[in-house]
Symmetry: C2
Subunit: 235 residues, 2 copies
């Protein structure tokens, strides 16, 4: 039970509709689909978890994805959209990725959840920089780490100590995942021209050579390396 201190003004229930509404709804639709996919994946991970503690923790994380989905639905509504039509264009995006990257062990599953979908999350986070502040903050909040990364890092670190060859196999799996994930982003950018102007704006201030797409891929690759290093795996 929290009381609101008087100096903190209440969040307005609606906010000015941003100019680039199509792009805004596209990012929210992409993110909504990605949260729904995360929910399904974490729930399936939970059902396969080797012990009750991990099952409960992964289930809790699946619940966080649903809460995120509700927050996205609310913002889509404020912008005059409906969740389902806004999500639908992104429904097939991960199907091919999932078909190409079927994990063969529990550890590969965990790594895919962190490293594979991490690329998609980074993409959303980067293009969101060019959205209106309220939608941007929502996207960043939804994608803030909810404890999943730590669960994966802890579990994989323990497993790699117990089985030294696992680390090199997972490093290989990580490279495969990032290659496929970057392919997904490339397809999304190619298929969704409503995101083009947004991507240009989002990447304008990012230092580096090349056009917006080249900067984007450099940034996504750098974030991937950072995650692999956090796991103690060669990027």
């Amino acid at each position: 039970m929290t009381t609101v201190p008087p100096e903190s003004p209440p969040t307005p229930s609606t906010s000015p509709v941003p100019v680039d509404q199509d792009a805004c709804l596209a990012v929210l639709g992409m993110l909504a689909y990605s949260e729904l996919a995360a929910f399904s994946r974490l729930a399936a991970d939970a059902a396969l978890a080797p012990d009750l503690g991990q099952r409960l923790e992964l289930s809790r994380l699946a619940g966080v994805a649903l809460t995120n989905l509700d927050a996205i639905r609310a913002r889509v509504g404020e912008l005059g959209g409906d969740l389902q039509p806004v999500m639908r264009p992104f429904a097939g995006v991960l199907v091919e990725f999932d078909g190409r990257t079927v994990p063969s062990t529990w550890w590969e599953r965990l790594l895919k959840g962190y490293v594979g979908y991490g690329v998609a999350d980074d993409f959303s986070r980067m293009v969101a920089q060019a959205l209106d502040p309220q939608t941007r903050d929502l996207v960043v909040g939804v994608l803030s780490d909810d404890g999943h990364a730590q669960l994966v890092v802890d579990a994989l670190a323990r497993a790699c100590v117990a089985d030294p060859t696992l680390a090199s196999r997972l490093a290989l799996w990580g490279r495969r995942l990032v290659g496929e994930a970057l392919g997904v982003v490339q397809n999304v950018v190619a298929d969704h021209t409503e995101l083009e102007a947004l991507l240009e704006r989002a990447m304008a201030d990012v230092p580096g050579n090349g056009d917006a797409q080249q900067k984007l891929f450099a940034a996504l690759t750098a974030e991937h390396s950072r995650r692999m290093e956090r796991l103690g795996l060669t990027p």
Copy 2:
């Protein structure tokens, strides 16, 4: 952001510990495991749902199961227990049931969710009548219909109209499900002697012939028939 109106007294964080604490924790552990299983099942149903609308609705219902699990965890804590050890004795209960009743179609899956697990829910609801009022109300609240029944009834009614032979096949499937589910309840009663006295008390006021177990099975069968009739299927 909610402020608490001064006239609404805060919910007490603890409440009197009931006398039959073991039985109480056993019912809560059984229910917690059943909610976790419902979460996994609904999330898997959602991932297989034929359209985005049903996928979102089934995901929402999976989220309700998680919210229920949190409420059970809180009550277990108030009674001085920990969720995991309290749940663990019931972890295997549904494994055999699930192995014996693998649905072969989407409609069989839906019916299993409503009719198969409905028996387990009824069992928890009935024994809960003999618990302390606060735990009893929690159990009844957790098991109150959250919209899943209506979703199943609507979807199956539409499907049976489109395919008249489906109704007779599903009626057969329903009889198989209830037979297996009653077997699960029988095993739980046999394996958990801490529930014996509770069951006696819960069934004492239920009219009918026979001992507590006979009355229990008569009541469970009657509830099953009611559900099948609601679906327009021969019990």
